[in-house]
Structures are given as C-alpha cells and as structure tokens.
C-alpha cells in the first residue's frame, strides 16, 4: 500500500482546477477539465491495484491467481465514456463561442452576468 498514487491524484485534481480558474482559452479549459478527470482514473485504478496481480482475464490464468480488481477497471472505462462525451460537448461549444462571440477567452463571454 503506497500513498503515492493518491497524492498524485489529489495533485492532478487541484492543478486541473487551477487551470480551469486561470484559463484564457476554452480549448485549454476543456483540457484542464480532463486533467481533473484523470485524477479519478488514477484513484480508481490504484484502489483496485494488487501488487504482482495480473490482468483479471481468467481465460488465460488459473482461477486462483492473484489479479487486480476488475470492478474498478470497468468503472474507469465508464468514466472514460463520460469524459469523451463532456469533452466533445465542450469543444463543440467552444467552436460555437468563437462564431458568436468572436473569442474563445472566457473573459470575453459577457452575455450573462448579475
């Protein structure tokens, strides 16, 4: 049991948030959001990691062999699907923002306030 993956995950989450807060470009912002999300991959996979465990595909290995937890891998896959959906949507919105606002800097998106 090592704390390193958890520390890295926490770092990724926070640094991604910093990127979003200070972002001056919507595409950069979408990438920062995926940085935040990559912390969830790391934390999921490290939760299910077993030292010297093999991949949980029991067709190739004896059923008693040590394997990493397959559940978290399934969760990570689901997570990736979620991420690609959100990123695609945000990038589409960025394109549209460029067309309508003439800028992809969140500072110049000034339609809604107050």
């Amino acid at each position: 049991m090592t704390f390193l993956p958890y520390a890295v995950a926490a770092w990724l989450f926070v640094v991604g948030l910093y990127g979003i807060v200070t972002s001056r470009h919507l595409v950069h912002l979408a990438v920062c959001l995926t940085v935040v999300q990559s912390s969830t991959y790391l934390i999921l996979l490290s939760t299910g990691y077993v030292r010297h465990g093999s991949a949980p595909i029991y067709a190739d290995i004896p059923p008693v062999a040590t394997a990493v937890d397959p559940v978290v891998q399934a969760l990570t896959l689901t997570d990736i699907v979620v991420e690609s959906t959100i990123t695609a949507l945000l990038l589409a919105l960025a394109v549209q923002a460029m067309k309508r606002f003439g800028s992809v800097d969140p500072t110049f998106l000034r339609q809604l306030r107050g």
Binding site: L17, S23, L33, V71, I86, L93, A97, Q111
Partner: protein, 607 residues
Amino acid sequence: MTTVQHLAPLAVVIPLLAACVIAGLSFLPRRLHELVAVGAAIASTTLCAVLLAHANDGLIVYWLGHWEPHHGVALGISLTVDQLGAGIATLTGVLVIASLVYSTRYYDEIDGPYFALVMTFMAGMVAFSLTGDLFDMFVFFELMSVAAFALTAVMIEERGPIQGAINFAVTNSVAGFGLLVGIALLYGRTGALNLAQIGLSLDHHPADALVAVALLLVVAAFLTKAAAVPFHFWLADAHAVAPAPVSILFSGVMVELGVFGAARVLSTAFAQPIEPSLHDLRMVLVAVGVVTAVVAALSCFQQRHLKRLLAFSTISHMGIVICGVALLADRALAGAASYALGHGLAKGALFLGTGTLLHRCGAIDEFQLRGRGRDLPLLGLVFVVGALVLASAPLATTFFGKSLVEDAALSADYAWLPAVLALCSALTGAAVLRASARIFLGWGGDDPQETRTESEERSQEASSREEGADMKPHATTPALLVAVPAVLMLAAVLAGLVPDLVPSIERAAAHFRDHASYAGAVLSGRAPHFPPVAEAHVSGTAWIYAAASTAGALLLAGFGLRDRQVLPVTVADVLRAAHSGHVGDYIAWWTFGMALLGGFVLWAVAG
C-alpha cells in the same frame, strides 16, 4: 410483489429506446417525433406511478441480470424502489409530459434531436431516483447532466445559451468528478458499490477521515446539482438561457434530484457513521441551507429579467429543501419532499408562463413587458397564484411541506429557522408578485432610466438579448400555452389538499430513512417492518409564519413597485458582481466552498 419489480427497469428503458428511435429516424416529420416522445413519457410515468403504488408496504428490489446477493453480499446492480424515489420519478414524468405537450405549440421550429435529448434526460432522472447503487447514481447523474448541458445550448445560434451551457457543463462536471473520487474512496474502504452494502460495511465503526472525505465529496457533488451557495452560480445562467420547456425540467425536478441524492446517501451509506456526530453535521448542513435560501432570495428580489428572477427563486427554495434534509429527521425530510412537490409544480408553471409571455411579446424583461400581459388574464392569475405558492401561503402544498420542516426545526432547537425561512418565502413570493402586477396590470413606474446604476444597465442590456433574439412576437397565443401552466399550477395548489397525501409522504420519508429495513430488504430480501409513523398536525405557529410570509410578500411587492431597492446599493452590487458569468470565477467559488464545507464536515464527522 412478485412481478412488479420487473417494471422498474422498463421505466428507464422506454424513454431511452424512444430517444434512440427519434434520433435514428430523424428524417420523420416533427409531429411523429412528438408523438413518440409523448407516448414514451406517458408510458414511463405510468410505470413509475404503478411502482409508487406498490412500494406502499415495502421496497421493490430488482437485480439486473438476476445477479442477486449471495449470503447477504451484493455483487450485482440493483434498482431499489421506495416510495420517495418512485414519487420523484413520477413527478419527473409528469413534468416531462407537460414540457413536451407545451413544446408542441411553443417552438416555431425544432429538430428531432431535441426530443431525443429530452427523452435521454428523462431516462437519466428516472433512473437516478430508482437506483440502489452508488456508481449507478454517478452514471445517471452524468447522463442527466450531459443531456441537460446539450438542452441548455439547444438554441445554439444565440450567445447566451452558449455561455450558459459552458458554465453549467464545467461546474457540474467538476462536481461529478468529485463524486467519483468519493465513490472510489468508499469502494476502497468497503469493496462495495451497492448503497445498502456500503452502509452495512460502514456500520458499527465511527467515521474516520477517509469516510468523512468521501462523505464530503459525495454530498458536495449533489449539493452542486442542487445549487447550494456557493456552488450555485451555474444555475442562474443555465436556467435563464434554456428554452422555457427545458427550464421547467431543470427547476421543477433536476435540482430537487440533487437534494434527493444527498438525502439518499445520508440515510443509506452514511447512516451509521454520522450517527455520533448528528448534532454537529446538522448544524453544518442547516447553515448551508440557510445561506443558500437567504442569499438567493435577495438576488431574486433585485432581478428584472423574469427567467433569471425565477432561477434565483429556485435556488432560494432549494435552500429551504436543503434545510429539510439537513435537519436529519423523518418529519423534516417529509417536509422537504412535500415542499419539493409543491415547488416543482408551481415553478414549472411559472417557467412555462414566462415562456408564453416570451412567445407573445418577444421580451423577457419585467419593464419591457409592463402592461403587455393585459390580454392574458388567465396567465396573470397563474402568476399571482404561483407567487402565493412560493410565499407558502396557507393551504398551498408548499405550506404543508414548510410546516413539517418548521415542526422538525423547533424540536431540533432551531427555533430561529422558521422566521428566516419565512423571510425568504416572502422575498421570493414578492418578486413574482411585483413582476405579475407590473406585467399583467401595468402597475408601478416606468423603467427608472435616470436612477439606473451602471450594473443595472448592464443587466438590462444583457436581458434584452439573452433569450428571445430569435423568438419573434406572435399576434395570438395558442390556448395550450396558457392551459398547460394553468393545469400545473392547479396541481401545485391542490396536491397538498388531497386527503392522505401529506401523511403518506410522512410515512414514505420515515421508511426512506429507516437504514436497517433498507439494508435488510436489499441484501436479504426481508420484508421490512416499519414502525408506525405518528402523523403531524399543522401547528398554530405554522399558520402564523405562513400568514406572515404571505403578508410580507404583498408588502414587499408593493415596495418593489414603488422603488426597486430593498438592499443598500453596495450589497446589491456585490451580489451582482459575484455573478460575473466567468466560468473560472465559478470554479474558484466552488473550490472555496469545498474547502470551507470540507473543514466543517471533517470537524463535525471525524473531529
């Protein structure tokens, strides 16, 4: 009880299939898409209502793929239907039907994908209410979120919807990732994803730091969806720019589902770990609810953009619902649920009514609309009644809900809470009353051009272009655009008067919070034995508070018609300036809120 559980997945699958059919056959004419969508929504809503009726005396548990628990250990994924969950799913269905019927006459032009998105949105919300699995809650949280982001930006050629959708998407996604980290931590600790199983594993151990952090991340994610201050900035932007038939779903049930999710995890997974620290945790959560209710009520009152006004009013009312959940008592939860029912129907009617005004006049600004609603007297009546429902006027559904929350607050030594909540009801009711009087009767002064401050100028400039640039005024209003809001408002008024409805919500809430029965029913298939629930009676003080908030709403509305300011100009400007519309600012506020809430939750739960 033997076959009814098979209906639970159908309630989710039907709208999803309808979405696929509509998206796949997008070349068909619009009327056919509408027909498929309305048909699927009615079918799914009927199933939810049947589930609601059958969940009367126990939980309905369905294991997907028949992966049932062995020796009390759940490996499969369950739909666990209780009355509160089935109830909110039914409310979702009713509002989706209303929204779809309304949109048949509302949009001049709309494409098939819109109806596919509404169906996906519905599937996500219904599944979120019915699931018994924490990871599924995340999946459906994201499903409804993504559909909601796309629906916000459905008028993609306008500027407001683009900005609103970006702010909404980024804020809610960050919250969703927090939720997933929380789930991963819980899975690491318990090896379980089923809510009952997690609860069982965490039982008999006081919460440590890891459980406290997981609790924080999970609850904060749901509170972001529920627009608790300071996680609330996205809501005003998203609700103000989404088309009216979408706003009704956002305000009517999506944000309520955020509070529902928080209540669900607090009464299943975390029920035992928080038991020793109940007193402190209650204090922290009630503080969140009160701050939300007060800040948003003040923002609401100073808005002149109608949809933004209603959006802030939704945040304020969510604050009241959060207080109900935060008191961590059966009766308070019943109050929160009844209140959410009344608020959801009334706010849905008001948003649709605003859409009708936009359809008729092509404007959404209170001053631009002054006196222009005279031709729509029935809609004016809907608005005034809606204002009274928001003010928790006696005998409205919200009144019964709020009296239960007040009752619970008094027995938990929060004697000051009812007065604060009454003030918020008065402010939000007054804002709608003031707008109704100006729009439908032409009361009050003209646009105060000369006294306008700079920030107001900006908001007016924004509001004239936010939504409706493409919505041309129509010479006539189809009867349907008035009838749907009127029917919803009638339901909002009458629901609380249906005999045995509020008492049955009280029973449902007590069952919802019965941790041991829930775990037993899910993991061992035991029929739950719920103790009888004492029925609450509306106390005398509840009538006094309701009368006071109604009178306060009338007074403040009159005040608002004469002179718009209730707040010192500096405070008003600070409130406005906080809503900068910059997504980076919103995430900074979110981070700040997490740090603050995290500190208090760690102190309360693990301290």
